[in-house]
Amino acid sequence: MSASDSPVLPAHHFDDLEQQHAAAQLGMWVFLITEIMFFGGLFAAYTVYRSSYPEAFAAGSRRLDIGLGAFNTAVLIASSLTMALAVHAAQLGRRRALILFLILTMLFGAVFLGVKAVEYSHKWHEHLVPGHGFRFEGPHARQAELYFSLYFAMTSVHALHMVIGLGILTVMILLARRGRFSPEHYSPIEVSGLYWHFVDIVWIFLFPLLYLIERHR
């Protein structure tokens, strides 16, 4: 505990820790706004093509595994809970609980990516990957290919964010093990949490838009 016994000092360009913490939070939020605009472009493209080809999007959506999609949604929500609990533990200076919850968050994230890999593999074997191998029965094959292009673009960029999130959490666990965090200084944990929750929110929108189109037919 030697590291947390010594007083935590702010970086020299800040007046105090309070200001440093506020700046870290603000910086992460500004970054997340750029991320909203990044994913926003994909969501806009999706909206344009879905409004143009509603039947093809419904036909494509029915080829996705709703069970795996719903399971992954639950897994990501659980990972957000453990991430929130990690921040809570950091605020109270509970180092063991902090590390435990960060590891749990990473486990949930890894399960999500594993399920996603299984889904991609299914789509590959069902010839649903856009390109020369794409095969789709029915009158909307070309438009369904567009749906799957958006499906792979949006979910793969989301998965890339998950992989980066796992990298960030790995660094946080290593820093936490060295006792770098305390109730006075836990901004890196909180800011990592903001990123993780944001990636969760993107999936909260991707799930109904990609998996749940006109399932009643």
């Binding site: 939070q25 806009a44 949604t73 991430m83 809570h88 109730p183 909180e190 929110i201 399932r215």
Partner: protein
Amino acid sequence: MSQNHNHVVPLSVYFSIFGALMALTAVTVWVSFHDFGVMNIVIAMSIAVLKGTLVVLYFMHVRYASRLIWVVVSAGLVWLIILLALTMSDYLTRFADY
């Protein structure tokens, strides 16, 4: 709310939000298997917006954050709405035979 960065949210809040998010996920899957006409997409998006709002306010602590954070988050949402609304105002009115 207090500007104190050490605002500790009670654990019961986190578990309640988690329960609400899981329940809303079940509702949105259930709704998708029933025919509500054009309301299907409206319900699905309303539930997604509600879930996202719960995550932002409680898991991301915006409910307890400074006014500056509120302004930045709101500005991001307004810009997203501009992106989607202006794009669709074009595409939904562009072709005569729509």
